[in-house]
Symmetry: D2
Subunit: 297 residues, 4 copies
């Protein structure tokens, strides 16, 4: 199969279940909302080592937000509900409440469950907090130094999908990188999907365990390393490929992840020098769902 003249390998991305939250962060200006959203979703590439997987989903103009101010949708995810609850409390409390002019609203459709994050945070107001009703939402107004921080009482969570992915193989490292940026740009238009790695792009891949160091749970996937393609046996890097980047996607649903993979691959294959698209899996028995590349188009 080819998209824009680029080979799409007949393989699949193996994705996993994850608990997902989606929060709308508004502020006086778009720039202020971006600053808060960026802080709250940092240090959030993968739960392998980060306390959450997190990212900015999309921008929402003032006319479409509950408080008529510009905002960004962010998603914060963790396999464990308990850990997600902790992360929401701290990321909202330490990175949004402390940010200039912000407010935080629940933005998850079809929640499985609600966590009372805002209800807990309201106590920071020490009795000066107030309960408001905005657009049918229960929202707390907490007096802080610079004004009042508004936070919705409950944030929804639901079972979503982590680890949707595809590999972009290019004739040079730079071709693969610019194609990865184009893919991230395209995924930016898909609601309910984030690319949690730095700039949305993953530079490294890992395998379970290690051949040499038995104390490691994971190590570099040498068969996918471009600088080792002539050194290791059975490298998965084609001879003419000199750069590989991966896009990893977390989404509110399998549909959102599939749509993100589709538009991401379509955009990536527009960049000259992209030679092949593949995807990562562990054989298909570990994950929640296997997304076949050929079936998303």
């Amino acid at each position: 199969m080819e998209i824009n003249g680029v080979e799409i390998e007949d393989t699949f991305a193996e994705a996993f279940g994850i608990q997902v939250s989606r929060i709308l962060v508004t502020a006086a200006t778009k720039k202020l909302a971006k600053i808060a959203a960026t802080e709250a979703t940092g240090y959030g590439t993968s739960v392998i080592g980060c306390p959450a997987e997190a990212g900015i989903d999309c921008y929402v103009p003032p006319e479409e937000t509950p408080d008529g101010r510009p905002g960004y949708m962010i998603m914060i995810c963790n396999m464990s509900k308990k850990k997600l609850d902790h992360e929401l409390l701290e990321r909202v409390g330490m990175c949004l409440l402390t940010a200039a002019t912000t407010a935080a609203f629940d933005a998850l459709d079809d929640a499985d469950e609600k966590l009372n994050v805002g209800f807990k945070l309201k106590f920071f107001g020490d009795g000066f907090e107030k309960e408001l009703n905005i657009d049918g939402r229960t929202v707390y107004s907490v007096p802080i130094m610079s004004g009042d921080f508004l936070v919705e009482g409950e944030f929804g969570i639901k079972s979503g999908i982590a680890g949707g992915n595809f590999f972009i193989m290019g004739d040079s490292q730079s071709s693969a990188l610019i194609a990865a940026e184009a893919a991230v740009d395209a995924i930016g238009a898909v609601e309910g999907a984030i690319t949690p790695f730095p700039g949305g792009v993953v530079a490294s891949g890992s395998k379970v365990g290690s051949n040499k160091y038995k104390f490691l749970d994971a190590s570099t996937n040498e068969k996918m390393c471009v600088t080792l393609k002539d050194e290791v046996e059975e490298s998965d890097i084609p001879a003419d490929v000199n750069g590989v980047y991966e896009i990893v996607i977390d989404g509110v649903s399998e549909e959102a992840v599939k749509e993100a993979m589709k538009v991401g691959i379509e955009a990536a294959t527009k960049v000259p020098g992209v030679l092949k698209i593949s995807a990562g899996n562990f054989g298909g028995n570990l994950g929640t769902c296997n997304i076949k590349l050929h079936e998303i188009f």
Copy 2:
């Protein structure tokens, strides 16, 4: 005392000791280095709720870095050496190693001690890693999917200062906010100092404990809340002040923090509508050092 016609209150900032690291993140382009530095320093406003205090210190042009590529200095801090060791391992491993084209070098002068973060990360190479010498530094080259990640073997840490601070009081919320942005811009030129809150600006202030909710360790400092100035007794907000933001500074030394406070206050007081500068303390007996506002000029 007045600076640029603005009253500087005769008070002091009470600052605390903290373990500080300083890392130079380089990448193929300035933009790519910024992306990685931002991810690695996110979710790092205050150790009260975040796993570290972290921020971008300054930009370094290609001619001045060990590998001749553009870079950003970042600082990652924690009260505990053990926690800082963990944070360095995860923030470098999950947010820099995974980022496109990055490398990470130690950039702390006068370290008290070295943590072997890069030495530990090299094992990810599963035997394909190599030891290099760059500019007299021991650096490991770890093959990853897109190329090789370079990481210095050891990162220095030292006793630094957290919680340097000052308050900007303005005739409106917006005056105080733009002045706070100006202060952060000025502090950006001070090497060895970061402003870890979102965009460098703090919108909320807290007091120890709570008057109403006994289960709380901290709650809003109602005497410093502009929207409560007519409601609480003994408010610290002058009658004509309608906006307050705080700048919090972490630095490699007391000198760096003082210099940051000095240039930050000078810049803030240039903005029309700024009426007063103050600072936060807990009486002076809790912190490592008390920085008197009147003595830094």
Copy 3:
């Protein structure tokens, strides 16, 4: 009349006819498209002194562009068709053709007329250019150093509206400024409307002629200057107003300009410290249309 508790003066904006073009600039990545769009629309605040009025209308994700790459809609305007033709030729030729990976497509609905800008630019190819058909458009592929520049043969122009406007009056300069930024953020979501001044915000206002210097065509409107409110007779600045910024809007139609004014005012009035919204006119007899503030809500 009040919006969000802020007085909307019972006055009108006097707007003028202008010839408008609208071009979609695509590139390999969103960032590259933004760079080109910014260069091509610079030095374009007002035809009083600039060779055009120009600005970025909105972002278009890859899935919605003719070539499947991210893009920005830009608008370039001039009172004179001949001057607009010149500006299109030079701004496309010098700022888009020369920019990395860009392409330029006509994006004006309901054009009154077509200018053969791309047809003229194709000759730069010196015989190596090719005519393509993309999505039913006649597009020329011009070989340049780094690849091929694609440019649509004809760009539509139509009679649009320049000088839609409103004033934001705040209790401080900063309040008015942050409100102006919020207004620009909101107008960013209105298709077919730009705010051509720097950052979308106008810091100065003028009156026709001069009282003191007879050789001037225009001079500062002293009645609208906040720093002169106690100095000039009959100042239009209310006593409690210390900051005024204007938003000026150019649009493809009166409807687009009205919608932009509406959402801009709604967003501006959300910012604390905004006291009044007004608009600028010359008595109502000079312009093409008078847009009454009270009639757009």
Copy 4:
């Protein structure tokens, strides 16, 4: 000759004389200064079709500016003093005076001559303007709507150099592009040098006249077009090169241009996939100075 393992062709850049101005634009915040600087230097890639060559030179922190606010150095250039005078008047008057919170100071060392741009602009104040002395400079304070615009009375100009340049040839378009970005990043640290094309990068090259269309003064340099390398005779594109971008530099002096070329080439050759560096000239008899690539290292 090789730099970082990349061949540097034994050729020279042919540069031309140009009249150069250098202005410091300050504002309340770094972001506001950037907005104004960007507008004032837009539509300024090459005087072949733009009314000026213009760009941002570097950022200046608050502690180092005459008014203690953050600023950007910009350069505006034209072959003709008369045209440069016009451009300064309009770009300062329409793009800086109109921008929020800005001021404009002369920043050219060793001026050959002074143009009284600020003196002319002060008349806009209609008698309400005032003459100030700031740091020994004669500066006019002109009341505008939002406050007072400060502009220095005279701006220096001097004979500088335009068209310093080098070509970056890469194994893919993307390799050359990322290397070009790295070069621009490096040149950003050289004071007195700008890269006036979009993002600092030039995607197209031209030759004098045209082989096919006799009415053209200039047309694409087909021998330097990567997509024509197999089509034209005597292509200058090596067989393994698939991407070429040019960096064009204007500077206050030959030294500044040489330094910019040096650090730009050093940075570009750090990017994997860059195969060769060359430079553009017209045989050496047209320009003001010929800068040999091998002599700048």
